[in-house]
Amino acid sequence: MLRRLIPHPLLSLTLILFWLALVNTLTLGHLILGVLFGIGIPMITAPYWPDRPIIRAPLKVAEYFLIVLWDIVVANVQVAMIILFRRNEDIRTQWIPVPLDLKSAEAITVLAGTITMTPGTVSATLAADGSCVLVHCLHTDDPDAVRDEIKSRYESRLKEIFQ
């Protein structure tokens, strides 16, 4: 019953917060409205999200989030340097397949997203069975290192979060 009422509790929470951010004020009326929407919208959209991903370690989530945020800042500086100061012919671009241990679609998506948002890499495509991600690296001399870092820095943490 509760499951049907709140099929995605995290989503509902996000929506409530999202509503408050949207109206940019915290009043009781908006809180009530936010809760209504936070429950109502997932109920209506539940058919489009048949599964229910399980997130185990909220702290890990925060940790992961901060790491990624930091990496993004760093990544941007690095990439900016490459763009601004490196001659085109000195840029060594690489395709790097990264085999995945993750099985959850949500986890794979977060990983691929992270790869794209962080240092010099873009996740270009997945294998047809989702078991490997093809990463395009803007500039590296050591593809294996890049792959290993992805696996150790992000994938391992995501494994803990999603499984």
Binding site: F37, P50, D51, A128
Partner: protein, 953 residues
């Protein structure tokens, strides 16, 4: 109105009422049909006869009912001597023709139709002669053209019949139209269209500067109807009609309408040089020419037709003389011509009916086989020839008498000489009619062996031939009628004496010369005919056909060249017209002094402008690659949206950006089925032309905008700003305008969207149900496509994003009244959110989880909006009157509830439903074309491993 007035109406109406009957009666049998045709005619004739005594006393019977007083048109009838004469002729001959036709027409002919047409025609003709209002006369005039068209074309299977009918309609119709002009001018001069007023205003009319145009226009009507040169050619071709028709139309009625008109207008229009030279000369030429042609016609009916032309010329000439004596002669000859010509046509019809030919060359010797017909034919032909003791002689004599002393362009010889020639020719062809048809030896090669027809057929001509002799021998019997008619024509009080012997006058010499000369001509006929047939001469029908076909061909060329399906050219003309006409309107006046300075331009705005211009030019340059053009359209939309933000129009920005996206989606969906490139096919010249047009249009519109942006003006919107919050309950003035001040516009606007959804759905079905579906089936999807339809990442992100986007939609909806937003944008945002879901997991998969039908959503939206508007009625207020209130439910802070929001909900639902129905329809087409439907939300979910691992890499 007197009883006699009522009778006049009844007389006018009877044929038309009667016309309804034969068509219905035909099942009762042909005789019954004929009887029921005769009844109204006879009734009308009887009624007419009851009026006759007073008319014969010189009174005028009048009756009038207002019809269209604003125009001066009344149902006004007017029976004087002239009218009586003609009405009697029309009804009398009508009866005879009814009788004759009963026997003449074959069983295969639809007789009901025939009698209906005949009565219609009779009614129209009768209307002309008793009209008391010249506009009413015009109406009957045109009706004769129409009904004669039906009669002449009665034998639909004969090409000559159809062509003859069309020719008659074209020629007499043209004349009728000219006459409309003439009559309207007359009415303008006199200030009334009543005949009484017109007839009383002769001097005023002749003094008017508009006299000549009016005269010419009216004469065009009369001449065409009465087959005067050069409009004479239609009449012989009308002979393709069944003989009863010819006998009726071309002796007593149709062709006499023109003569009647000239006689009717005689007091008003005649007596001037213009009248004399136009009318008399035309008549003279027609008389001679018609006679010449008649002499050489081998077709009996053609001979009679041209003789009719000739006699009509004679009548026209007489009227053209403009003297009272000539008018008397004309009136008398009208009667005489009627009697012998109607009989002659019927005789020719009998011959045709019996021998199955009308070709004189194949006839001869019928005297023995058809004695009755011979007698009738001979009597009437001799009358036509103008032989003494037959009535034709009397009026012809009077004509010659008048001709003998009429001066033409200073010459005393022109008219007498030509009149004599005309008479002589008339004698010749009349003799020929007798000699070559009836006399001579009996032949054994008639197409059909002839004998006299049943009495029903010869009775009518026989009756007329009796009249021919009676009047010929005792002309005084016609004197009263001629007198009263002639007095009506001339407006004088004449007392003519009709007698056989006038003494030895120039006319007698001319007559004798004609009678003898005619015989000589007949003797010389064979060699002369050879010469005639060998000599080249213009064939009127060929010329006419050439003319009509040229005009029709030219018309076809013009309309097909101009309406050639090239919309690009239509649009070019439209744009050029707008620019040229707009520019000319602009330069026709000046501008007030500018009142505003220019706003400054920050660099980023300049960049935005540059982007917009470059993107626009790029779209034009690169439009051949359609996808590229769509990307560039995206740039333009983005730039304009940002520009709206900068220029204080946040609502516009929101709307523009969301509409933009949905539009591009639709275009992409459509482009999927369309060619991906536009061929470069416009020649350089066309490109330059279009470029010039485009630049002109752009300069015009830009210049216009620049001109008004520099000038301030008071607008009504100060009121909107002042009353938005107090009156409309919202601080977003734009939104309050949309849902309140001008909510009615918005109501219309959502209906446009709803209709759009319906149409797209309907087109989709039309395509899927029609031949296009086969083409769709053949679209090959397998090639060149990426293999991931519904990528995992997209699906996952959408699961989060879509609810967020939906919430944004709700947010924008709820705040619209006070802040930028509103139902429309909200609808689009939700639609975009759904679109996201469709793109992620496919339309069908998503659709299957959709609970609300889009049709229903649109309908509900439109109805909610409408009901919200109509809700105001309950409070006695007009549609869409809004109301709002602030609700305070502690501990929640006060919030507003407004009916406008309910209206906005209608907007929201309609927009959402319409957009989704559009997408649905396009998706249906794609699926029909072979697109497969996925059963899972994403291509492959690694968390749910597949059973059969498959080698692929």
């Amino acid at each position: 109105m007197s009883d006699s007035g009522h009778f006049l109406f009844l007389i006018a109406l009877l044929p038309f009422i009667g016309a309804l009957v034969p068509g219905l009666m035909i099942r009762a049998g042909r005789t019954a049909c004929a009887v029921f045709t005769a009844v109204p005619t006879a009734l009308a004739l009887i009624l007419l006869m009851t009026l006759a005594p007073s008319v014969m006393r010189g009174e005028v019977v009048q009756a009038q009912v207002e019809w269209l007083p604003q125009l001066g048109l009344s149902a006004s009838f007017f029976l004087d001597g002239l009218g009586l004469l003609f009405a009697t002729m029309i009804l009398g001959v009508g009866l005879l023709i009814t009788l004759y036709a009963r026997f003449y027409l074959s069983g295969d002919d639809p007789m009901g139709q025939f009698y209906t047409y005949l009565l219609l025609f009779q009614g129209a003709m009768l209307g002309i002669v008793i009209s008391g209002n010249i506009l009413l006369l015009l109406i009957f005039w045109e009706l004769t053209s129409l009904s004669s068209f039906l009669l002449i074309g009665y034998w639909k299977h004969l090409p000559e019949g159809r062509q003859g009918a069309r020719m008659a309609l074209a020629v007499t119709g043209a004349g009728g139209l000219a006459m409309i002009g003439g009559m309207l001018i007359l009415g303008d001069i006199v200030g009334s269209y009543e005949l009484v007023d017109i007839l009383a205003a002769g001097d005023q009319i002749k003094a008017s500067e508009w006299y000549l145009p009016a005269l010419i226009l009216i004469l065009l009507g009369a001449f065409t109807k009465s087959a005067q040169f050069p409009f004479h050619f239609w009449l012989p071709h009308a002979m393709a009609a069944p003989t009863p028709v010819s006998a009726y139309l071309h002796s007593a009625t149709m062709v006499k309408a023109g003569i009647f008109l000239m006689a009717r207008m005689w007091p008003v229009l005649s007596g001037t040089d213009a009248w004399f030279y136009i009318v008399a000369t035309t008549g003279l030429v027609t008389m001679v020419l018609g006679a010449v042609i008649a002499l050489f016609k081998d077709d009996l009916k053609a001979l009679l037709a041209f003789s009719t032309v000739s006699h009509l010329g004679l009548l026209t000439m007489l009227l053209g003389f403009g003297t009272q004596a000539a008018a008397v002669a004309a009136v008398f000859h009208i009667i005489n011509h009627l009697t012998f010509k109607a009989a002659l046509f019927m005789t020719a019809g009998i011959v045709d009916h019996e021998t199955h030919t009308r070709d004189i060359k194949r006839l001869g010797g019928l005297r023995h086989l058809m004695p009755v017909t011979f007698v009738v034919g001979t009597i009437t032909a001799l009358s036509m020839a103008g032989i003494p003791l037959f009535n034709g002689f009397l009026s012809k004599e009077m004509m010659l008498e008048e001709a003998s002393h009429t001066k033409w362009l200073g010459s005393y010889y022109v008219i007498p000489v030509f009149a004599t020639i005309g008479a002589l020719l008339s004698v010749a062809y009349s003799y020929r009619f007798i000699v070559h048809v009836f006399l001579g030896p009996v032949r054994d090669d008639y197409p059909h062996h002839p004998h006299d027809p049943p009495a029903g057929m010869w009775l009518a001509p026989a009756l007329l031939s009796v009249l021919v002799i009676v009047i010929g021998v005792m002309p005084f019997v016609a004197e009263a009628l001629v007198t009263v008619a002639a007095n009506a024509v001339t407006g004088a009080d004449l007392h003519p004496h009709l007698k056989i012997w006038h003494g030895v006058t120039p006319a007698l010499y001319m007559s004798v010369f004609a009678i003898i000369g005619g015989a000589v001509l007949l003797v010389l006929h064979a060699p002369m005919a050879r010469i005639w047939n060998a000599s080249p001469r213009p064939e009127a029908k060929v010329l006419f056909d050439w003319f009509v076909n040229s005009v029709a061909g030219a018309s076809r060329w013009i309309s097909e060249q101009s309406h050639n399906g090239a919309i690009s050219r239509y649009l070019a003309i439209f744009v050029v017209t707008s620019v040229v006409v707009g520019a000319s309107a602009f330069v026709g006046s000046g501008l007030s002094a500018p009142t505003r300075g220019l706003l400054s331009v920050p660099p980023v705005i300049a960049i935005g402008w540059f982007m917009l211009v470059v993107a626009t030019i790029s779209v034009v340059v690169m439009h051949h690659n359609r996808f590229r053009a769509l990307v560039l359209i995206g740039v333009i939309g983005l730039t304009i949206s940002a520009g709206f933000v900068y220029l204080s129009a946040p609502d516009l920005a929101l709307t523009q950006i969301s509409v933009e996206t949905v539009t591009i989606m639709l275009l992409l969906l459509a482009l999927h089925f369309l060619p991906k490139t536009t061929p470069k096919e416009s020649p350089m010249g066309l490109k330059i032309r279009d470029g010039v047009i485009a630049v002109l249009a752009g300069a015009g519109v830009g210049g216009l905008a620049y001109a008004f942006m520099l000038r301030d003006i008071d607008t009504i919107s100060d009121y909107h700003i002042a009353n938005s919050y107090e009156g409309g309950g919202g601080t977003n003035v734009v939104n309050v305008i949309l849902v309140d001040f001008r909510g009615y516009d918005t109501y219309g606007e959502i209906i446009v969207l709803g209709i759009a959804g319906l149409i797209i759905y309907a087109v989709m079905h039309a395509l899927l149900d029609g031949p296009a579906s086969r083409r769709l089936r053949n679209i090959d999807y397998s090639q060149d496509r990426s293999r991931d339809r519904h990528p995992l990442m997209m699906v996952v992100v959408t699961r989060v994003l879509m609810p967020l986007a939906a919430m944004v939609g709700l947010y924008i909806f709820l705040r619209g009244h006070n802040e930028p937003g509103g139902g429309f944008v909200a609808g689009l945002v939700i639609a975009i959110a759904l679109l996201m879901q469709y793109m992620a997991s496919g339309f069908a998969w998503t659709q299957a989880r959709q609970r609300i039908e889009y049709h229903f959503m649109i309908g509900t939206g439109v109805i909610i909006a409408g009901l919200t508007g109509a809700g105001a009625w309950l409070f006695g207020r007009p549609f869409l009157t809004s109301s709002y209130t602030y609700i305070h439910l502690p501990p929640i802070e006060e919030f507003e509830i407004a009916t406008a929001m309910l209206f906005d909900l209608g907007v929201f639902l309609t927009v959402l439903g319409a957009v989704m129905l559009m997408l649905y329809s396009l998706s249906r087409i794609a699926r029909y074309a072979g697109e497969t439907v996925n059963l899972e939300p994403m291509d492959y979910d690694p968390a749910k491993p597949a059973t059969g691992e498959k080698e692929d890499n």
